[in-house]
Subunit: 108 residues, 2 copies
């Protein structure tokens, strides 16, 4: 029998070159999603999806995370029963230099 290895399944997401600026801007242009993205920006190693306090129901949270993932803003991977999110900073910085920092540095 082969040794047991940790299963890391990355949920479907656009490749770097498939990311579209309109979708990224739409995904970022929501207060709840922006709150989540700011939290991820402070945790480069990734965050358990439920760990960030958001003022919405669980199903709305799932909806927001899906929009961010499908736009290419965040990456989500399943590790056992956990789902970890991380910001696709490298991909976004490569596609749109300055954009993410401009958004993250904004206080309002």
């Amino acid at each position: 029998m082969p040794p047991t290895v940790a299963q890391h399944t990355v949920l479907p997401q656009p490749a770097r070159e498939e990311i579209r600026i309109e979708q990224v801007l739409q995904a970022l242009g929501d207060p709840v999603r922006l709150l989540f993205v700011r939290a991820l920006a402070r945790s480069p190693e990734g965050v358990a999806c439920g760990a960030v306090p958001l003022p919405v129901t669980k199903s709305t949270r799932t909806h927001h995370l899906r929009i961010l993932r499908e736009a290419g803003v965040i990456s989500m991977r399943a590790e056992g029963t956990r789902r970890l999110s991380s910001l696709r900073r490298e991909d976004l910085d490569a596609r749109y230099p300055g954009l993410l920092d401009g958004v993250l540095n904004a206080s309002h």
Copy 2:
């Protein structure tokens, strides 16, 4: 009688410090509005609102321009019967350094 002066009426818009990042991102996150903003970026002196070809009806165009203006992305002024739009680059660059260039430099 006082001499006739040109009437330049600026349409209502948020002051620089009233601009909100979510609204700016939402306003920019639409292909038609992005097309218009890119056209303005090439014409610092301002553009007659009808002069930029957009693949939408006149009333939809008016709607899009209003969203951009109310978000603080563009400024509109009436000069006689004309309406001129210009990008609020200085205000946006002051509020969100890097954001606008990141968006404008994006090819996709």
